[in-house]
């Protein structure tokens, strides 16, 4: 089975800090995604990547950037954390075409104080 590993389960950061969320997948998937989950809003796509060095904005990219230097690793960066970025962050990899689904990591619960 594909495994997607997020480096931290819980993080507490201060407003204005630069925050790095790391994600690693072990199945050689080309596609990787970062979502945030908020109550009532479901999962919203922040950024995604189809290949190394490649990135695409999702629906809510403001305040975030990403890095994909290696195929298995996709990092989400909060340039200057704000309280409205307190959320559950979920990394996924895979291709849902032909009915298959993404594989998600366990998530990182980020609190910005």
């Amino acid at each position: 089975d594909v495994k997607v590993t997020q480096s931290s389960r819980y993080l507490v950061k201060r407003t204005g800090e630069k925050v790095f969320l790391e994600c690693v997948q072990d199945m050689d998937h080309e596609n990787m995604f970062w979502y945030r989950q908020d109550p009532g809003l479901g999962l919203r796509l922040i950024y995604f990547s189809y290949d190394v060095k490649m990135k695409e904005k999702g629906d809510i990219p403001e305040g975030y950037s990403v890095s994909r230097e290696k195929k298995e690793r996709f990092s989400l960066i909060l340039e200057s954390a704000s309280t409205n970025q307190t959320s559950m962050y979920l990394c996924a990899s895979g291709t849902p075409g032909r009915g298959g689904g993404y594989t998600f990591g366990s998530g990182t619960r980020l609190t910005v104080v």
Partner: protein, 112 residues
């Protein structure tokens, strides 16, 4: 504007009965529809999907129905079990965009 909507934020059902979760969408170009299940403090797990050219797909206790004319799909869980208590997300995929769009989720509670 949300392209995928789950209008019921929660659902409570007795063990052994049927759970019906609903999802509406606006984009007629979606190619696949998927359901994910999420427990607290875990990532969502893929449950079942249906192609836009089908109207029904069944996998064990889970059946998904698609009504394209109404832009509506539903997930039936029969019989419901306490372990089914979770948040369920409807999602839709368009090949052109190669990304999943999720609904807001429905929290299901199955009472023993």
């Amino acid at each position: 504007d949300q392209q995928v909507k789950q209008n019921s934020p929660s659902l409570s059902v007795q063990e052994g009965r049927i759970s019906i979760l609903n999802c509406d969408y606006t984009n007629s170009m979606f190619d696949y529809f998927l359901w994910y299940k999420k427990y607290p403090a875990e990532g969502p797990t893929f449950l079942i999907s249906i192609s836009s050219i089908k109207d029904k797909n069944e996998d064990g206790r889970f059946t998904v129905f698609l009504n394209k004319s109404a832009k509506h799909l539903s997930l039936h869980i029969v019989p419901s079990q306490p372990g089914d208590s979770a948040v369920y997300f409807c999602a839709a995929w368009e090949a052109a965009g190669n990304k999943l769009t999720f609904g807001g989720g429905t929290r299901v509670l199955v009472k023993p």
